[in-house]
Symmetry: C2
Subunit: 332 residues, 2 copies
């Protein structure tokens, strides 16, 4: 099962999968604290809550950082990354989030990877919400590690993360970790030597992960799953625009994972009522997480297809009507 996961990012034979009990953030912390040595320094590309979280992880763990932060609706500035890498040879690693679900933005992973490679640094990717849905090719974008979990685009239950690691890079990490349980090197070696997890694995979660992966491969792996989510996203955005809503992001920055919509300005649009009425109809959406704009979000991933998206659109139309919101298009 774990052996086949590198295939998802075209990394068979070059990368190994190291599982990590806990939520996805456990895998991200394991990746950062195993790969960035105590003497290292990591440039963090931040444009949302998950970049901020990586920053907190590094600060708590005592890793030196440099932060390149952009607004939540703005990708990192490639020229600025280049300037920082040129100016600071102490930077050993660059960290980025593939799809930052704070806004749903798709970060330019290939361009970032090319820069990091050109300047001889190492790339670490938080691909939590992207892995298995968005393309990533290890032969083109050189990375040392990519962290993901059982319960996003793989559609398993939560409780297990994993990090796909370039084997020679992982082999260099012995002694880097500042925790025992999150030490990917030790976890890797333990599994290789004994065939067992070092510490009790969440076995029921793992069984579910097996089944989820079987369904993932049956759907055609990343291209197949990505196609379904892209269709979900397109149906959602088209329908919401039809209703008069506006997306935060231009289409070229929108990942097909979660979509942020501007909150309508119509006084009759009360978000809590909107949220509750949709929930009563069986549709749970997400409050906004942005500082740049008043917004809400709707997810496109999980066991959902275009019919579900049309269902939520019909429900939204009904709720707008109930709330007495009539003129969204002109008001927005």
């Amino acid at each position: 099962m774990l052996e086949r996961l590198p295939d998802v990012v075209n990394a068979r034979g070059t990368h190994v999968t190291v599982p990590m009990q806990g939520s996805g953030t456990f895998a991200v912390e394991a990746m950062l604290t195993t790969f960035v040595p105590r003497t290292g320094k990591v440039l963090l590309l931040v444009n949302g809550a998950y970049g901020q979280r990586a920053k907190r992880i590094c600060l708590v763990a005592g890793r030196r950082i440099e932060v390149h932060e952009t607004a939540e609706d703005t990708p990192p500035d490639l020229a600025e990354i280049e300037r920082v890498l040129k100016a600071d040879p102490a930077i050993t690693h660059v960290f980025t989030v593939h799809c930052e679900t704070t806004s749903g933005i798709l970060n330019p992973i290939a361009e970032i990877g090319a820069l990091v490679e050109r300047y001889g640094r190492r790339l670490l990717i938080d691909a939590m919400s992207a892995f298995g849905a968005l393309p990533l090719d290890a032969t083109k974008t050189k990375f040392d590690a990519v962290a993901a979990s059982s319960n996003k685009c793989i559609e398993g239950v939560p409780g297990l993360g994993f990090v796909i690691c370039r084997e020679p890079a992982l082999a260099e990490t012995q002694g880097n970790a500042t925790t025992l349980v999150l030490d990917l090197y030790d976890q890797w070696q333990g599994l290789a030597k004994t065939g067992q997890y070092r510490f009790t694995p969440p076995i029921h979660v793992i069984v579910s992960f097996h089944q989820a992966l079987a369904e993932f491969w049956a759907e055609g792996g990343q291209p197949g799953r990505g196609r379904r989510y892209a269709e979900n996203c397109q149906v959602l955005i088209d329908g919401m625009r039809e209703l008069g809503f506006r997306t935060l992001l231009p289409d070229r920055l929108q990942a097909p994972i979660i979509v942020t919509f501007h909150m309508p300005k119509d006084a009759k649009f009360v978000f809590q009522s909107f949220y509750d009425s949709l929930k009563e109809r069986g549709y749970v959406i997400y409050p906004g997480k942005l500082t740049v704009a008043d917004s809400f979000r709707i997810g496109c991933i999980g066991r959902l297809n275009a019919d579900h998206m049309r269902g939520v659109l019909a429900a939204i139309a009904q709720v707008l009507s109930e709330l007495g919101v009539k003129s969204l298009r002109s008001a927005a």
Copy 2:
């Protein structure tokens, strides 16, 4: 659910439960790295693999330690603990394992607690395999924290640990942690403020834990569950002695959790054959983990009762006969 857990150790109103995703070791590492500040020093009482693991956690996390180690069949030396505490005022915390499953030994938690209290230090307990089965009374044995998990004596599925923390002591731990995900203070505050886990919880594991706790309380809580395990243990030991096996530990040191038996010296007793034949009959036992003696172990916990223990005894008698082991009692 979490609110009632302190009742198990008579700590209602004084202690709070902080859950932690991952295996039990995640909870132990969270406890050690949250409660022992970077300027602290912890005296580790070691007489088996779990004490050794705590030592590794502290070394990796950069906490200063002092180790009092005794053989795997020997409880810590209370006079020596007293001498160390007197001699070294830098020691802020004492760590002990309630039941060390390496041998199955019951460590003298009340006596250790009394010493730690007398010398004004803080007690941290790894009660992984004991919690819910062996008595521990927070009003008598003063501890700052006790770590346990969903999947030992509570009989849930693995994937969630928890630490029962004395609230004023936990309140002092802000900023101690050297990891984000294992920071019990932050986890506690996050739950208190939002009612939610900071990071995706293993929800299916938690649902199972709810059910396991309902069954635990229905059985009469710790006294009821402890009684069943004690009976399991007594039936096992009596029957094994009847067959000529010898326990590693004298009865006064034996916890009713897991029992270590000396490997018989009879040349016809081949452990691998013994293990495999029992497994074929549906009974999985444990290889020994000892350095002090060649041994194997049989567990008493989980959804087992005296009939199951009689079942394994009958199977063992059959397997001995198959192996041609006849004279165990005189040979042992």
